[in-house]
Structure formats: structure tokens, C-alpha cells
């Protein structure tokens, strides 16, 4: 295991006149992050994932608990001694240095020979496709380019772990998507243990080998994207990873509900289509059941037409065979949906 975190607790003193007591950012968090993997810390804003990352980097200190990086206890180590690479949401570029100087910074601090530094910087700029910008100032780069520079800067010191705090959060949607794919490929190339924080479940599902879902300062579940999606530990994880609806006491995905116009299966719930909305190839239904539940259902346009559903139709709903289902624990309104 590359990073072992155990029993981490962190509270921030409350600010302002609220007097609601201290804010608990992390509540007894223990997690192990495997070597060489790309791990995502996923969760809603304010859930504690950035705090966890900053504690691993030594930029914040935990109240209790330990951090072990590659077998050495790093709990009391200052950030300078941890040999981690950290990439910030807002790039944190050194404005007064050229792109090459930015990347060289960590190596210069380590007093490497000049020739070696030049060679390494060259290599890294090639890796992040910024070779032609080596002598520009960061202000002349776009946001995406700045973030790639920041990544090269973090990688230059050959860190034992690379930590990225919402690395694409400040970029627009298109650039974000490009960089996401690029990060995946880069990781396959460089294979350094990487942890990144995101609140975007699509980003986590697409890029990560493993996902740690964090909410309200606690780890909800750890697993591969498939495990999380197919076998969520609770309805929070399930609803955070995709759209959900409630049907007779269970949480289920709207596209996992079968709709028929006659009561074919035992246990089917009767209801009326209260609203029907077509979005491209998809049809979204709101079905008001006889139990008073408002269930949303998604099906293809073709399917809806073949079954002959329209607003006002009486339908029977069943959970599709093989669907992921979680018992409903909390009110749906408490679950904060992502992005």
C-alpha cells in the first residue's frame, strides 16, 4: 500500500456568528490507497475530500490519526519532506517564472546539476505537450495549459505520490473532458500513484481505477467504478453515482424500471403517467402510483411508442430483472445530487 491513512479526524473552528459549533471535516477516516493506481476521492462539496488530500500532502494537519506514505510515518513531516506532488485547482503557477523555470523549481531546490535539470524539464514539457511554450510566462497560457504545466512541475521531483485537488474544476467543460482522458493516458505512461479529488462522478467513473466515496467526513465506500455502480453500499453512494428514483421502498435507477400497460407480474405497482417528457431518443415519465409515490422512469422513445404510453395512461411498474437496488434509508431530499 502506498498511502495508509488511519483514524484521521479534523475539525475546523466555526467562523462567523453562527455558533453552530466546530465543523467536522473528517471523522475517523481510515483508508488505504494502493501503489501505482489512479484513485479518485469522490464526494459532494464540503464533504472532507480536499481536507483529506491536503492532510496527506502535509498542507493541513489532522487533529488525530496517522498518515503513512510508502511505509514511513509522515504524520509529523512538513510538506517539504514528504516528496509528494500536489496539483491545485487554481494551478498555483509561479507567475514571475517562465514555464520551464516553474517546472525546474523543485529540482533546483534539490540542487540537481544544471544539465540534468534542463534535460528533465525538456522531457517533462514534451510529456505535457508544452515544449514550444518553455520560455513563455504562465500568463500567456490558457487554463488547460497552465494545469498541464502544474502537473509537469509536480512530476519533476519524481514524487512517490501525485495528489490532485479538483485539478479540472476551474476549466470549462470541453477542456475538462480532454484533460481527463489525457490524465488517464498520462497515468498509464508514468504509473505514479495518483490520488485526485473530484465532485464529478462521471470524471471519477471514467478515469479512476479505484474510487473512495467520501461524504460528511466519512468514507461511504471504496471500490472499483464497476463495484460502486453495480453494488453500492448504501443509497447515498447509489444516488451520488447516478440518477435514482424510489419504488415501493427501494432505491432504483429510473432506466431499471419496466413499464407495462397491463398487470403482467405479481407485485407490479399501479400508477398514472402524470408527465411525459421527450429528450432526444429518451422519454422521461413521471408516474404517480396508487401508493402516492412519484416515480420517475426513463425508457427509449421506440419502447414508449411500441407500448403505447401517453400522458394519463394507467401503467404497472416493476423493477427490471438484474437491476441494482438498495433499500431506501434516507429521504431522497437529503441526498445531494452531483453535478
Amino acid at each position: 500500500m502506498s498511502i495508509d491513512v488511519s483514524g484521521l479526524t479534523k475539525t475546523f473552528p466555526s467562523t462567523g456568528s453562527g455558533r453552530r459549533g466546530d465543523f467536522v471535516a473528517l471523522d475517523d477516516v481510515s483508508v488505504s490507497l494502493p501503489t501505482g493506481q489512479l484513485t479518485a476521492l469522490l464526494g459532494p462539496s464540503g464533504g472532507g475530500k480536499s481536507t483529506l488530500l491536503r492532510i496527506i500532502a502535509g498542507l493541513d494537519t489532522a487533529d488525530t490519526g496517522t498518515v503513512t506514505i510508502e511505509g514511513t510515518d509522515a504524520t509529523r513531516l512538513p510538506p517539504q519532506k514528504r516528496n509528494v506532488g500536489f496539483v491545485f485547482q487554481h494551478y498555483a503557477v509561479f507567475k514571475h517564472m517562465t514555464v520551464a523555470k516553474n517546472v525546474a523549481f523543485g529540482l533546483e531546490i534539490r540542487k540537481r546539476p544544471k544539465a540534468e535539470i534542463a534535460e528533465r524539464v525538456d522531457e517533462l514539457l514534451k510529456l505535457v505537450h508544452l515544449s514550444q511554450f518553455a520560455h513563455r510566462l504562465p500568463s500567456q497560457l490558457s487554463g488547460g495549459q497552465r494545469q498541464r504545466m502544474a502537473l509537469a512541475r509536480a512530476l519533476a521531483v519524481e514524487p512517490s505520490v501525485l495528489l490532485l485537488d479538483e485539478p479540472f474544476g476551474a476549466l470549462d467543460a470541453k477542456v475538462r473532458k480532454e484533460l481527463r482522458e489525457w490524465l488517464r493516458r498520462l497515468h498509464d505512461e508514468v504509473a505514479v500513484t495518483t490520488v485526485f479529488v473530484t465532485h464529478d462522478q462521471e470524471e471519477a467513473l471514467e478515469v479512476a481505477d479505484e474510487i473512495v466515496v467520501i461524504n460528511e467526513g466519512r468514507v461511504e465506500q471504496v471500490g472499483t467504478p464497476d463495484q460502486l455502480y453495480d453494488d453500492p453500499a448504501n443509497d447515498f453512494v447509489m444516488s451520488f453515482l447516478g440518477e435514482v428514483t424510489h419504488l415501493s421502498g427501494t432505491v432504483v435507477r429510473p432506466h431499471d424500471i419496466d413499464v407495462s400497460t397491463s398487470p403482467q407480474f405479481a407485485g407490479a405497482v399501479e400508477g398514472t403517467v402524470s408527465r411525459m417528457l421527450r429528450v432526444g431518443f429518451e422519454v422521461r415519465l413521471h408516474v404517480l402510483t396508487v401508493d402516492g409515490e412519484d416515480v420517475s422512469v426513463v425508457m427509449t422513445r421506440t419502447h414508449a411508442r411500441s407500448v403505447g404510453i401517453r400522458e394519463g395512461s394507467t401503467v404497472w411498474l416493476t423493477v427490471a430483472a438484474g437491476a441494482t437496488v438498495v433499500p431506501s434509508m434516507r429521504a431522497a431530499s437529503q441526498v445531494e445530487m452531483a453535478g
Binding site: A57, G58, L59, P78, P79, Q80, K81, R82, N83, V84, G85, F86, F88, Q89, H90, A92, V93, F94, K95, H96, M97, F105, G106, I109, R110, L137, P138, S139, Q140, L141, S142, G143, R146, A150, R153, A154, A156, V157
Partner: protein, 293 residues
């Protein structure tokens, strides 16, 4: 208080620069003159007043100085008493500027990065020299460093009095230029440097200081310009003793009082020139910073 605040007008090309060239072309396409009739009238009145108040009088100084040609300059400046005043003024201004560079940065740092009781009071006191009438500033300093000094310091009428007066009136410049820059420094930049292995001192020397240098220089230039032109605070404190504590402004005033406007203008135009150099230098520094973004 930095000069060229108006520089906000030419914002640097945005960070997402692909559109940079296109935008620039678009700007050139807009008419160079967008004045409406009312605004043009306003500009006319404004320029007239500005000319009558500032431009024509300053031109008159230069014209009066030029009448005598280089010979006049030469004779005015080589007068040993004037030369002594020039040397004293420049040396003291440089000394005080150096002090301000260090103390101003320290004070700005303490105001931004430290938290302690009475800090906001300190913040207000920094502005007192801006607001206090200069003659009162002289009187104020006399109370602690003059003949009745409770500290037993009798610095009045010595070169030290000049240093004190200049340090007093220029105190806010570096503080007030550095403070906002320090406030806007992003914490994550320093954290980035730390996680790359830089120790505190290295972070300060290689990350913070370079970001502050333009602001420190701007503040230094302002305080130098102010120091060489200072008059009011020195009147009571320095005693204006020729060859010892007489500064250039006092020299100019003596020329005026003796009805020697030509010599006064010659010396004044030299001061104007120095002021102009400072303004231009400041503008260059700020434009470079704006480009850095």
C-alpha cells in the same frame, strides 16, 4: 497609493488567450473617438482648467529656466550652497527610501500575515503622515526629537532631523503599495513551493519576494519623489542651515523670496525632471507587471 491606477484601462490579454489577437483586432476597429457632444464640451472645459492650473504654470517654470540657457543651469548648480543642498537632498532621499523599502515591507507583512491586538490601530496610524499637514508633522517630530525631547535626543537642526522628517512623510508609500499585493498572493502558490521541497526562507526569497518587487519598487519611487520635493515638515525641524540641513525645496524658496525667479526656476525644473523620470519609470514597471498578469 500607486501611480498609474488608471492602468486598469489597458487590461492584459486574458488568460484564455486564443481569442487574444481577435479581440485586439476588434478593439482597433472601434472608433478612436467616442465622445458625444456633451462629453466633448466637458473635455474642453476640463482641459482648459487643467492647462490653466497645471500645464501652463509648469511650462512657465521650464520656460523661465530655459531663458538663461545652460549657463544659468551651470551657475545655479555650481553655486556651492545649492550644490550642498542638492547633495544633501539626494543622499537623504536615497537613505530614507532604503529604510522604507525594508521597514515598509516589514510593516506590510505584519499587517497582512500577522494577527495581534491593536493591529487595526497600526493600520490607521500608517496613514497619519498622509493626512497630517506637513508643518504639523515637523512640529510633531520636534516634540520627541527636539530640544525638549523626553528621550534626551537633540536631533533638531541636524542632518538626522532631515532623515526623520523625510522618513515620517514617506512612511505610507511602500506599506500601501506592498500591502494589497501581499493580500492578493494566493496561498496555494506558497503551498505548491513547499510541497516541491522549498523551505520557508526559500519560499520567501524565490516566490514571495519576486512578486513583491514591482510593488516595492513603485513604493520606493514614490517615496523618493516625495522625499526630494519635501518642504513643509523640514521648516521647523531642520532649521534650514546652509551647507548642513538646507534641502533643495528650501533653496528654491530662498531664491523666490530674494526675487530671483530665474534661478528658482532653473533648480525647480531639475526637480520637475526628476519627478518626470520617476513617473515614467513607474509606468514602465507597472506595464511590465500588467503583462505578467
Amino acid at each position: 497609493m500607486t501611480t498609474a491606477l488608471l492602468d486598469g484601462a489597458h487590461t492584459p490579454a486574458g488568460p484564455e488567450s486564443p481569442q487574444g489577437p481577435r479581440r485586439r483586432r476588434a478593439r482597433r476597429a472601434t472608433p478612436r473617438n467616442t465622445l458625444t457632444r456633451g462629453a466633448a464640451l466637458g473635455l474642453g472645459v476640463t482641459m482648459m482648467w487643467f492647462s490653466l492650473l497645471v500645464l501652463i504654470p509648469l511650462t512657465a517654470v521650464v520656460a523661465a529656466a530655459a531663458e538663461g540657457g545652460w549657463d544659468r543651469y551651470f551657475s545655479v548648480l555650481t553655486n556651492s550652497q545649492t550644490w550642498a543642498a542638492v547633495t544633501l537632498t539626494v543622499t537623504q532621499a536615497l537613505l530614507v527610501t532604503a529604510v522604507n523599502v525594508v521597514m515598509g515591507t516589514v510593516i506590510a507583512w505584519v499587517l497582512v500575515r500577522d494577527r495581534f491586538w491593536g493591529q487595526s490601530l497600526l493600520n490607521v496610524i500608517i496613514d497619519v503622515p498622509f493626512a497630517l499637514p506637513t508643518i504639523v508633522a515637523g512640529l510633531v517630530l520636534l516634540s520627541l526629537y527636539g530640544p525638549n525631547s523626553p528621550l534626551g535626543l537633540h536631533w533638531a537642526f541636524t542632518e538626522r532631523a532631515v532623515t526623520l522628517a523625510l522618513a515620517f512623510v514617506t512612511l505610507p508609500f511602500v506599506v500601501r503599495t506592498v500591502q494589497p499585493v501581499l493580500e492578493e498572493l494566493e496561498a496555494d502558490v506558497e503551498e505548491a513551493a513547499a510541497s516541491l521541497g522549498a523551505q520557508r526562507l526559500t519560499v520567501f526569497r524565490r516566490i514571495i519576494l519576486p512578486s513583491l518587487v514591482p510593488a516595492v519598487m513603485a513604493g520606493a519611487a514614490l517615496s523618493f519623489a516625495r522625499a526630494i520635493s519635501e518642504y513643509g515638515s523640514l521648516v521647523l525641524l531642520s532649521g534650514n542651515r546652509p551647507y548642513e540641513t538646507e534641502v533643495v525645496s528650501v533653496r528654491v524658496l530662498t531664491f523666490i523670496e530674494n526675487g530671483n525667479n530665474a534661478s528658482a526656476a532653473a533648480l525647480a525644473s531639475v526637480m520637475l525632471f526628476v519627478a518626470l523620470v520617476v513617473i515614467v519609470a513607474l509606468d514602465l514597471v507597472q506595464r511590465r507587471v500588467a503583462r505578467r498578469g
